[in-house]
């Protein structure tokens, strides 16, 4: 019937789980008072008149972290099938993963050395 058995429950559960925010927001929409006045809709900035918007260009500082993250996240995803099948693969798979992780560790050391992991 289903090639991926059990996943029909995932679809069903996505539906049931999405009822939580939908019901909460609908109930609130039916019960809450009407919005009052434009004063409340001003942006909060510690009681000051906001100076300019927040949609501006600025240095988010962790651009390099994000790049390193992508590499290691993909690495982790590659390692999952390896870990699940590890008991059938044996020593050779271990050596291969050692080389794979070793290359990435060298990459991490390089990024570290180059100061990509510094917050400044």
């Amino acid at each position: 019937m289903f090639v991926l058995s059990g996943y029909e429950y995932l679809l069903g559960f996505i539906f049931v789980a999405s009822l939580v925010p939908v019901l909460a927001l609908t109930a609130s929409w039916l019960l809450r008072p009407a919005p009052s006045g434009p004063e409340r809709r001003t942006t909060y900035e510690s009681g000051m008149e906001p100076i300019g918007g927040a949609w501006i260009q600025f240095n988010i500082r962790y651009y390099m972290f994000a790049l390193v993250f992508v590499i290691f996240d993909v690495e982790t995803v590659f390692l999952y099938p390896w870990a699940v099948a590890f008991n059938r693969l044996g020593l050779l798979a271990f050596v291969e993963a050692l080389i794979f992780i070793g290359i990435l560790v060298v990459g991490l050391a390089y990024a570290w050395r180059k100061g990509a992991l510094e917050w400044s």
Binding site: L25, S28, R32, A54, L91
Partner: protein
């Protein structure tokens, strides 16, 4: 191996006895565990919020909530009810579509992750093959919602909070996934049921925490960071950023953030219990105890007792970890953002990689102790 109580089979069989075809019977069954799980998570959340307020009060020598219900136990429910009646304020300069989608995107993955939470052999919504990996995948959707609501608010505090949430998430996701990887390797499966079963049979001695002590610590730190709990609550650090990404939120949308953060803490505690503390297993192996008493595994009363014990044990372990998290909140000072990233990248990541390789090496050399 004791197959445990089989509610689904019993339910579907009894409907079929009434003359319904099997497909329809299954359709009747499907929503029941899901709705139960969502209600259970919500009740768990109310208990958790009450505990947090009571324990925080005790840590500061206050009384805490007192008037709503016995010992103030209904305080969280009353607060929730109050938030339903609150006015919905969308700032004039905000992007109203993203502003509404943000909190929904934060809360949805947390609830969907409960799909793989096991309370017993068959007491799980669905034992999907991806199991624990599904949870990791879903937990990385959440920061997108945080970033989205931070950006949509068009508020500087909110934007900074959203960006910090993203930074934190990318720094702690990898150590978390690598710590889980070591456990997955030991159980040869990503299914949460298999992970618990691999720890069963020897009572407290069989739990993964003895074989993965380093992984346990890494996972706990990373899970606290993913939940944005103190000492890692930088995205909403109230002394610096007002309330971070939720600065502009009020009413039910604020409540969605609040619910999501606490349900997520509960979920993380459950996952620690499942991965490292034997899930539904008791410290004393119940199967063997029943064997000594000469009870057959199919004895219905025994099955009910074992199943209820399993649920109780899971909840007990979960709330013990929650208690630990609350105590840590009042014990540890908040880290700075550069310390946070240093801890994630320069300490946890290398240690998690070493832990993984050591686990692999031990699995090859001592296959009987590390899951063959």
């Amino acid at each position: 191996m004791n197959s445990g109580i089989d509610l689904q089979g019993t339910f579907i069989n009894s409907l079929q006895d009434l003359g319904l075809p099997p497909g329809i019977s299954k359709l009747f069954w499907m929503p029941l565990p899901m709705i139960l799980m969502v209600i259970g998570a919500t009740v768990g959340l109310l208990v958790l919020v009450w505990l947090e307020r009571k324990i925080s009060a005790a840590a500061q020598q206050r009384v805490g909530p007192e008037y709503a219900g016995p010992q103030g136990s209904l305080q969280a429910a009353v607060d929730g009810l109050k938030l339903i009646f609150k006015e919905d304020i969308i700032p004039a300069k905000a992007d109203s579509a993203l502003f509404t989608i943000g909190p929904i995107l934060v809360i949805l993955p947390v609830f969907i992750s409960y799909l793989v939470v096991p309370f017993g052999q068959n007491l799980i919504i669905s034992d999907v093959g991806l199991g624990i990996f599904l949870w990791i995948a879903l937990s990385s959707v959440q920061p997108i919602g945080l970033l989205m609501s931070g950006y949509a608010s068009n508020n500087k505090y909110a934007l900074l909070g959203g960006l910090r949430a993203a930074a934190q998430s990318i720094s702690y996701e990898i150590p978390l996934a690598l710590a889980v990887l070591a456990v997955v390797m030991m159980s040869n499966s990503m299914s949460t049921i298999d992970i618990v079963q691999q720890q069963s049979g020897y009572g407290i001695l069989g739990w993964n925490v003895w074989r993965q002590p380093v992984g346990f610590v890494i996972f706990w730190i990373a899970a606290l960071a993913e939940c944005e709990r103190l000492p890692f609550d930088l995205p909403e650090a109230e002394e610096e950023l007002v309330a971070g990404y939720q600065t502009e939120y009020s009413g039910m949308k604020f409540a969605l953030f609040y619910i999501a953060s606490y349900v997520n803490l509960l979920l993380s505690a459950i996952m620690v219990a499942v991965l490292y503390l034997g899930g539904w297993e008791s410290p004393i192996p119940l199967d063997r105890l029943a064997g000594w008493l000469g009870q057959p595994e199919t004895n219905p009363i025994l099955q009910v007792i074992t199943a209820s014990m399993g649920i109780l044990m899971t909840l007990f372990k979960t709330y013990l970890l929650v208690f630990l998290a609350i105590l840590m909140r009042w014990t540890l000072p908040r880290v700075r953002i550069d310390q946070l990233l240093d801890l994630g990248w320069k300490f946890l990541l290398p240690v998690a990689l070493v832990n993984l390789l050591v686990t692999a090496a031990l699995k090859i050399s001592l296959p009987f102790a590390f899951g063959g």
